[in-house]
């Protein structure tokens, strides 16, 4: 699984950072950054939950 932030949509709500800090972080403006675009199997479930909590629908998940 790969994950990316749609920077045109992200407004810095921080839901992904709160839900899965192993994969998401915030830049100095508070917008989300995906630290590990390649999601390890152990974090797949958390990343999916982060995507479901993003009100802007800015967390993009791609499955191989």
């Amino acid at each position: 699984m790969r994950v990316a932030i749609d920077t045109a949509k992200c407004q810095g709500h921080g839901q992904c950072v709160m839900t899965c800090p192993e994969v998401f972080s915030a830049d100095d403006q508070g917008f989300a950054v995906a630290l590990q675009p390649e999601v390890p199997a152990s974090l797949v479930e958390k990343v999916e939950r982060a995507a479901l909590r993003c009100p802007e629908r800015a967390v993009r998940i791609e499955r191989a």
Binding site: G30, L52, R53, P55
Partner: protein, 429 residues
């Protein structure tokens, strides 16, 4: 009810729609549901009569999110600001983006996380004092001072001005929404200005605006004084940071921009967390089972965050106004340039198409893309502070007093519009 009756009822509800009264709150979600099902983009004559042009009320989650994320067609330049529009709330992109770039770094998760020990300590101090009293008011003793004092410290308003600041806020935000203190202060100010109250003790929209302008000038003069003081003697606060800030890295902010930004921070920071906390604790006083369910999970770091989000979904307070910028076909409705659109986030947050079983609090609800903090470029700047304040306030209060009930002799006082609770006397259960 037949479809035809449902439609006719919705047309009547839309015509009379006015969510700025406390009475509206008695049938708030029933009204939003009736509109959403039969007339999700509703023309409201009552709102139009209040001097805002043709007015529409949207109630579907999808329509409200679409409007909030399309600032080109749905502008924040909605007039009706006393003295001058507030920055960045009343500004559209691209200037809005430049102002937010100045403010965003001061309100990030990291910046707000550093405040947590202080939030805990101050919340505990207020709660200890409150529960030691024989009778207490959750709003006056806790929900009002907690976020207000924290915000005053952050911006740099002297704490000695607390009472004055609350009065200015109440006159600006709660002149005519059922808030007793706001109405009394506005009446006093109106009489001082030589204005004549109407039969019910309020003022005409024109006179109401004169009062808001008079109060606004006073607040602006206060800001000007504080800005001068920080120019001479900088401190570690947002007033000082604003003075050093640069618009697009090119120029300092003008005196007017500085004051208009402080005005927005002032209005957005003082009221919102207090209102949400008041609504949640009133709900908990009436629904002990939901309260106990929260108390049982509130120390679990894996669950408490989602639980707070769900409470904010359930008790969202903001109805965002927008102005339509061009003639626009919007899901079958013909909107005209200049029309006013009301976007009630409480209605969006109870749409069953987005939130199954929307009128139940489900602490682990996923997905939960609620609009309690808004959406799009104008989403709440203070989101990370507000979230922490709501969580810490609920934890600290319920650790000290997990069981309580309403005081039957002194029922809570609600206000409409940017809704909330003006007073909430509680008794130990």
């Amino acid at each position: 009810m037949s479809d035809r009756e449902a439609l006719n009822r919705a047309v009547s509800l839309a015509r009379e729609f006015d969510n700025t009264t406390p009475e509206f709150l008695e049938h708030e979600f029933e009204t939003y549901q009736a509109l959403r099902e039969a007339l999700p983009i509703a023309r409201s004559e009552r709102r139009a009569a209040a001097g805002v042009g043709a007015a529409w009320v949207l109630t579907r989650y999808d329509d409200i999110t679409e409007a909030l994320t399309n600032p080109a067609d749905f502008s924040n330049q909605t007039a009706n600001y006393p003295v001058r529009p507030w920055i960045p709330q009343a500004v559209d992109p691209p200037a809005h983006t430049a102002y937010r770039r100045i403010l965003n770094p001061w309100f990030t998760v990291d910046a707000m996380s550093k405040l947590e020990p202080h939030l805990e300590q101050y919340a505990s101090e207020l709660v200890q004092k409150m529960v030691a009293k024989p009778a207490f008011d959750f709003v006056a003793d806790f929900a009002d001072p907690f976020p207000t004092v924290i915000f005053c410290e952050l911006i740099g308003f002297p704490l000695g001005d607390y009472a004055q600041i609350m009065d200015w806020k109440n006159m600006t935000m709660h002149a005519a929404d059922g808030h007793a203190r706001g109405a009394a202060l506005v009446r006093e100010r109106g009489l001082k200005l030589g204005l004549t109250p109407n039969a019910v003790g309020g003022f005409s929209p024109e006179d109401g605006m004169k009062i808001r302008v008079d109060v606004g000038r006073e607040v602006y003069a206060y800001f000007a004084k504080l800005l001068d003081a920080r120019r001479k003697e900088p401190r570690d606060d947002l007033i000082t940071k604003l003075l050093a800030a640069e618009f697009e890295g090119k120029r300092k902010l003008t005196q007017e921009e500085l004051e208009d930004t402080l005005f927005l921070l002032f209005m957005a920071g003082l009221d919102t967390v207090a209102s949400v906390l008041g609504l949640i604790v009133r709900h908990f006083a009436l629904d002990p089972e939901k309260r106990r369910e929260f108390v049982a999970l509130m120390e679990d770091p894996e669950r408490v965050g989602a639980a707070v989000e769900e409470l904010v979904r359930f008790h969202a307070i903001v109805t965002s106004p927008r102005r339509v910028t061009r003639d626009l076909a919007f899901h079958g409705a013909q909107l005209r340039s200049g029309d006013f659109v009301a976007l009630p986030t409480p209605a969006a947050n109870r749409d069953p198409a987005e939130f199954p079983n929307p009128d139940a609090i489900e602490y682990d609800r996923t997905p939960n893309r609620h609009l309690g903090f808004g959406l799009g470029p104008h989403r709440c700047l203070g989101i990370h502070l507000a979230r922490r304040e709501v969580r810490i306030a609920l934890q600290v209060f319920h650790r000290a007093l997990p069981e309580y009930r309403l005081d039957p002799a002194h029922p809570p006082q609600l206000f409409g519009g940017m809704k909330g609770v003006a007073s909430l006397p509680l008794l130990r259960a």
